[in-house]
Point group: C2
Chain length 223, copies 2
DNA sequence: CGCGTCTTTGAGTCGCTTCAATGTCTGTGG
DNA sequence: CCACAGACATTGAAGCGACTCAAAGACGCG
């Protein structure tokens, strides 16, 4: 990450909540690193419905898939006030030349991202509303913990219930009713600004997708 | 692709239809290259429902995301009789050392895969059954064309309507009814073994996600 | 020719959406 | 410090899209 930042040109940008960093269809020739705050990647369909693909937390790389296509496939929007730094694609090119191990790690991170998308895809396509919502909240917590080891079962977030609905693929009204069901069953606490996982095991079983464990054995990577 | 094959040890394997190459949860220390036939990647959830994440066609790399985790996240199953060749992860490691440009191209392919998953995710979460099915069939055709430029609007496939249902996230019964709606509206022909896109524009508009164009400008990659 | 796989059809039910309205919080200006 | 406005959360009722259950037809393979 520090190495990546060394390729930037001090190109830091501050975003206010709801401000768009990059819209679908715009040409894009690089990606961004999220330094502070939360952002999200979304796709708006021809039928007008919006879906939040992923929520980004500090340390995440934004807009990487856009490197492969001429026009940005997704819209990147700030969920809270946020700070990002732009990284030109030439930085990635250099990385593959001078730091093959880092490049390979970046490759592995992309595979992890694929797995997260695969899990979300399976859930959205084959799970009920309450299962989907359980999965979404669980994934948020998992990622909050990963970015901040030592975090307990409570994490803070800037999400509205409408954001949650767009993440879980349902109506805000039904998201509200489903949150209440999860509350009544003693699985979570959900309030403005923060959430708590009360029963991680039950929640994960409800979500229906197992926790993934990242490979630690990396001897096959270049040095 | 030829370079990748040079890393294999003649480790070719033939699969019969419905045979599983690699099941969810199994440890896996490499990936595969599909030489002939079609396979698919699927996830089965705790509630028992199966979802087909992606259909693979000859030339596709199978099980790449598994490199990042200790246990295979998905099940790879043959949709027709198929031939694959195993590629150990050490091959990938070497690639990043000796062929940075190829490694970078592999990285870009992973980003394309991410975009395909993002599109599918948005569709499954935010589109109606007929829109989802239109999108699925369109993506199959797009990929068939990409693997075989010069192909017209008809492509052959080994998919049953149940496979189609698992791809589009719906019941086989409803998939059947939805296929018939698409037929009645003159958008497609769907029969055992082959399919034809009758009205690509209308189908794409129905699907609600624009066609993506791959970057041709690759000057920023290492040589 | 017959059996298994796949496709098609119909009826009843339920999960989720839509529409409409009320209640509650948060920040901001007077 | 209070009043107000806008954003967000909550509630209820009606409607529809997709599922479930059940059964019959068609295809293709041995």
């Amino acid at each position: 990450m520090a190495l990546l930042q060394s390729f930037e040109g001090g190109n830091v940008r501050k975003l206010r909540r709801h401000e768009v960093l990059r819209a679908e269809g715009e040409p894009a020739s690089g990606f961004h690193l999220l330094l502070r705050g939360w952002t999200a990647s979304s796709i708006t369909m021809a039928n007008g419905k919006r879906h939040l693909l992923k929520v980004h937390m500090p340390g995440d790389m934004l807009g990487m898939p856009g490197l492969a296509v001429t026009r940005s496939p997704d819209t990147i929007v700030a969920l809270s006030s946020a700070v990002v730094t732009a990284i030109p694609r030439e930085g990635i090119g250099r990385l593959f030349e001078v730091a093959p191990r880092i490049a390979a790690l970046l490759f592995l991170i992309s595979q992890e991202e694929r797995i997260m998308l695969m899990d979300r895809l399976a859930m959205m396509a084959a799970a009920s509303a309450i299962e989907r919502l359980a999965g979404v909240i669980l994934q948020l917590h998992d990622r909050a913990v990963r970015n901040n080891p030592g975090l307990g079962t409570t994490f803070s977030h800037p999400l509205t219930q409408e954001d949650l609905a767009d993440l879980a693929g349902m109506t805000p009204i039904y998201a509200n009713k489903t949150v209440q069901r999860l509350r009544e069953e003693g699985l979570i606490i959900w309030e403005r600004g923060s959430a708590t996982i009360l029963n991680p095991e039950a929640l994960r079983e409800l979500a229906g997708i197992p926790a993934r464990q990242v490979t630690r054995e990396l001897g096959w990577l270049p040095l």
